[in-house]
Symmetry: D2
Subunit: 389 residues, 4 copies
């Protein structure tokens, strides 16, 4: 426990002194700030301080944090847009590491997980496809893997593959049986980025700028994967995706809570230092209302997060709890940053203060990892099953 408290304190300290100044100097644009070189430089510092990849199993150099303990550490990292990268708890690596730790063979863990935990390469998770393929509805998966010479040949197109450009390896979701729209028959494959047939076609030009490697469109053309690089069992890919999904949703919430917390603190400090109409802005009722609503939204986000983490740590799937926590958090943290922007007035929409960039980075969270509408759909169906008769 003392270790966790120290880990939090030191992560907070590291982020504020080493990472935040670089983030602010480049308005949260990771490429402008140095890109891959910046990552290597910051991770080296984090490694020195024992702060790198804190959630990795101890055998891979981490602290083996459970979900509940990840929450405050990842939030501390998220306080800077570059923080999760700096301590190596960023999506998609963090979720990929989690998945490899749970499903990977010993040899896969040595080959893919260890260098990931050590920050020696990055990774990407290639599931989402352009319409009409897998998107909000994963069952629409079109990419196919077919048997060939004791291995597999993968063909298909992917889109919004975060971190793809520069990744060391890919986890590729491909259909090994069943037809599109079947919720069965997917398999996960591991493939080094150097495997022939893997092509990064373009970066989708999204509004966020803090994710190394972008959100890419990719083509897989006759990508050959051996049986050793099948992750888990054949045809069980959708099940593993669920294993990855719940925790990955929650770690997104952790990181973005940190970012929203910073926007909030910035806005409170701004209004406390600014006079208008004969009073401090922070003493005006309409400002107080926004500040209080931020506090309430942050508290409710954390409360839902902690409950979902406790359920995951107890071994549950926590589908409902993580779905509710993700949906609430994405909307609540968006409100927090939007109010923070508003509280800062003209400077709130500029790079003079760090609130506009946080708003920009956070907006997509209501869409990825399941748009709010898809989550609500599943939450409602569950309620109708429970109370509808």
């Amino acid at each position: 426990m003392s270790t966790l408290a120290e880990l939090i304190t030191e992560t907070v300290e590291f982020i504020r002194t080493e990472v935040l100044p670089i983030d602010d100097a480049h308005d949260g644009d990771v490429e402008a700030a140095g890109g891959e070189n910046l990552r290597i430089r910051l991770q080296a510092k984090a490694r020195e301080r024992g702060l790198l990849t804190p959630h990795a199993p101890a055998e891979f150099g981490g602290h083996g944090l459970n979900m509940s303990d990840r929450a405050p550490v990842f939030e501390a990292a998220g306080y800077s847009l570059f923080g999760p990268m700096a301590v190596n708890v960023n999506a998609p690596d963090e979720g990929n590491l989690h998945l490899l730790a749970h499903v990977g063979t010993a040899s896969q863990r040595e080959r893919y997980l260890r260098p990931l935990a050590e920050g020696r390469h990055r990774s990407a998770f290639a599931m989402t496809e352009p319409a009409p393929g897998a998107g909000s509805d994963p069952g629409a998966l079109l990419t196919r893997a077919e048997r060939a010479d004791g291995g597999w040949l993968i063909n298909g197109r992917k889109r919004f593959i975060t971190g793809a450009d520069g990744a060391g390896f890919f986890i590729i979701m491909a259909r090994t049986s069943g037809e599109p729209d079947s919720a069965q028959g997917a398999t996960m494959f591991l493939a080094p980025a150097s495997t022939p047939g893997i092509s990064i076609d373009r970066h989708v030009n999204t509004i966020d700028r803090s994710m190394l490697g972008g959100h890419c469109e990719m083509t897989f053309t006759d990508v050959r994967v051996s049986d050793d690089d099948v992750l888990g069992e054949v045809d069980q890919g959708f099940r593993y995706a669920q294993v990855r999904l719940g925790p990955a949703r929650m770690t997104h919430v952790m990181r973005w809570t940190g970012a929203a917390q910073r926007a909030h603190e910035t806005a409170v400090a701004y209004t406390a230092g600014r006079q208008a109409f004969g009073a401090r802005l922070s003493d005006l009722g309409m400002a107080q209302q926004m500040i209080a609503d931020n506090e309430i939204d942050l508290a409710a986000t954390r409360a839902l997060l902690r409950e979902a983490c406790a359920e995951l740590d107890a071994g549950g799937r926590a589908s409902k709890a993580t779905s509710i926590a993700k949906t609430f958090a994405a909307e609540a943290l968006h409100r927090v940053t939007d109010r923070s922007v508003q509280l800062c007035g003209g400077l709130g929409v500029s790079s003079d203060l760090p609130v506009a960039k946080i708003a920009r980075e956070l907006r997509p969270f209501r869409i990825y990892d399941g748009p709010s509408e898809v989550h609500r759909w599943s939450i409602a169906k569950r309620a109708v099953r429970q109370y509808g008769s």
Copy 2:
């Protein structure tokens, strides 16, 4: 733990079989349903089953539930508007009992707490006053208690005194020193209802109808109280009010969560059984959105509640946590019932279904125990102190 689980299960069962039918038959109007006689009848049944006053200390016949354990039991009771009365966990008795247990002398506990725990009388908490007296701002307290013949003489007017009509005794908040608008100098006094000078002037005709004894205007004219009936120390009344306040806020949340949960379940069942435009109502996206939002609001309410309870159980004042949980809950549960009404269409605004009455009973919760605006004000000021420099 098995005991708590059983207590919950049995409370659920008791409420649904013995209490709910009476509640529904009288549209939640407690006077129409029998008033004080109904209370005595239902509490007798609850006593038989060992469900009465579960939060009372064991020496007074209860289970001594801490706040965390109260939550599911009180929520089960709140599922019916008459449930909290039936198992004797209703405001203001429940908060008064809590206060007496913490502050009362042994003799006060025997005289006032024991019969309260046993359901032999009810009580009221006389703090709020008509403008310009104590309201959202307790420091405006105008009622005065003055030294007289080794005791005290209390004079003043009170308003919105819940449960006053028919109460066996009152806890009266009166100023023993300091001027109005001073946040010091109040004292709490215990007075049997039969004490000369206590007058119930009228029931304020509020929209809710499930509280026995109404919300009354009262006058205290030369009400004589002995030193033995001073509750706690002289001039420390505001401090004790705080002791009562945090837990009392949370038990309100518990009970109202039960009521809102019932509205939600009713609406889901209604929409699942109703066809329109060629589909079940519960399969239409706009209905699903309302159902999902209800689930989210209920989950966030419970998560905030549990955190505040844990903090109280750990011995904290939990001012911030209870303030946030109360504010969020009052608004979220209001939204839940409002959506439930909307989902039920024309029947939703009638007494054919139990949603309109729940909406009616819940509305005042955004106002009493501190209007949302006053809580936001204090939450904001706290945030400005924390981040404002």
Copy 3:
């Protein structure tokens, strides 16, 4: 125009001096205030002052106000919950009069419209049915009229028939051809209340109390109607329902705007006269925000209303405009009254101030005349047709 201005001024004056005191004395409960006798008494006074049924054609004693001119007059009437009844512009009579004026034969107009315009009887519009009949989806109409001896025999059940108890005649919507779920084949029939086979089964106990004659469940058993009492042409009932619908929606908005305006004015006056925390409540930012939002909601409601009225006056169906105006208004005016309740604190949920009763009366408006969800559905489909390709 001077006539209109005078009509408004005198309606305002009449409502405030003659109607409002009775409304307030009985908390908006029309039966408690005298019911049918009260109507006769107030309408007599309105008649004396030339304020009765101002929208009726001149030949029936009215001013023949177009929709645009009705707006301020009906809003003035709606300022009291009994006002629309007092000047005879209440639903459903007002819509029925409108329909008779547009579709009725000369003889029908003499027999039904003239006494309606003169306040000699009331009327009801019998369209809505219990599930699975006509509700949000009028095409589900189950009540049937069949040919018999040169006339018609009507059989079926109806629900939520406003004003039915005590009505002098009914406009009955019945299926004369087609199957349930067909949007064709309905016919409107006129029937005096004394016609054998018409039965008022019960009042649905809804939360509102200001509508004379309640919202009733009815049975029509072999109700015989002659061909002279067919309103308009056979099988054209749905078309006429549309004729009635657009204007009826808008006059609801007019009346409820008056009621919400009163709640708003009450709340502003209350906060301006009340001190808390060292300031007038009306000078506190959170109160100002609610007051301003009320002003904005009222302004937007009136702006949308005026545009829809202008479109109707120009001869258009204005389906989109009235649908948008109704949906917005029902929600905006609900917000206005809810904020007004909140601004008035404890008294806001009591009958000491007239805000709680207005909130209670207004709530059903989001449901009747098309729930907001059904309107949104049709608004969206229209947009998809327009922009979707």
Copy 4:
């Protein structure tokens, strides 16, 4: 009238064929698209078609459109982010032209207004200052103009001066009498950009990218202005600012309505062309709700706008109407674009579709021209004056 209809049609056509492709090709970044050269090129085409500066008085080549007629034309221009620039109806030029037409001397109009109307130069309005100067509270004005040699010397700092970089002239607001925080004593001065002492210090790096000339920080150091370049009367600057303000607010609303309309149309078309979960996205209830809410918000924005314009055209100050319309519009159009982004899923936060860029450009509108909170404050104070006694 036929002229207005033609003007609208031709503006729509011009914007879609000549302007929109350039806007989309550069993600709304005006500098990347050519900056000042692009403006000159597009305005030349607009001039050829008779579409340039349509609101300018006829003597300066325009159509002298009143506010009501500007609405549909400016909205058509706003459909592209570069449209207002292309037809020369952009802020701040449009408001400056309006002001010069109302207040300028004949010689000032020839010297400043004519080339502005003809697109030969741009202009800027230098009012806002860094804290603690003029911002939401104009009375805090610090910049001073002092008498010197029969003219004036202006000294002070300004911030958020839109279009400053590259402007041909400035309208400078400076204090000629009174102390800071006095709402009197300001004067407006005209100064060519070449006047010595005018310095553009930096562009504030705001999130929007479609405004030519940026939002600049400036210093005025001993800027000498002759009496001929005083705009209007000395010490009457705040009054003229009000003349400019109401109409300028409304033309902002017009332009942004066009942009939001495009986001909405884009989202509807996207959802109509996309399948998910076995249906068109546009047939799913939650999507329909967002689409309908967009329609409602757009309709209410236009209705409030038209009422305010009618009031201005009738010669009124329309302070209340323009304040309400601006506040509602800024928030409603923000909601429209945010929903549009959400409806488009992953592509909604990318530059593949034009919704993210519109959201980015629109966000600041809730802050400039008076933040929503300042408008609410003034709306509330007005209501309290009206109803508060």
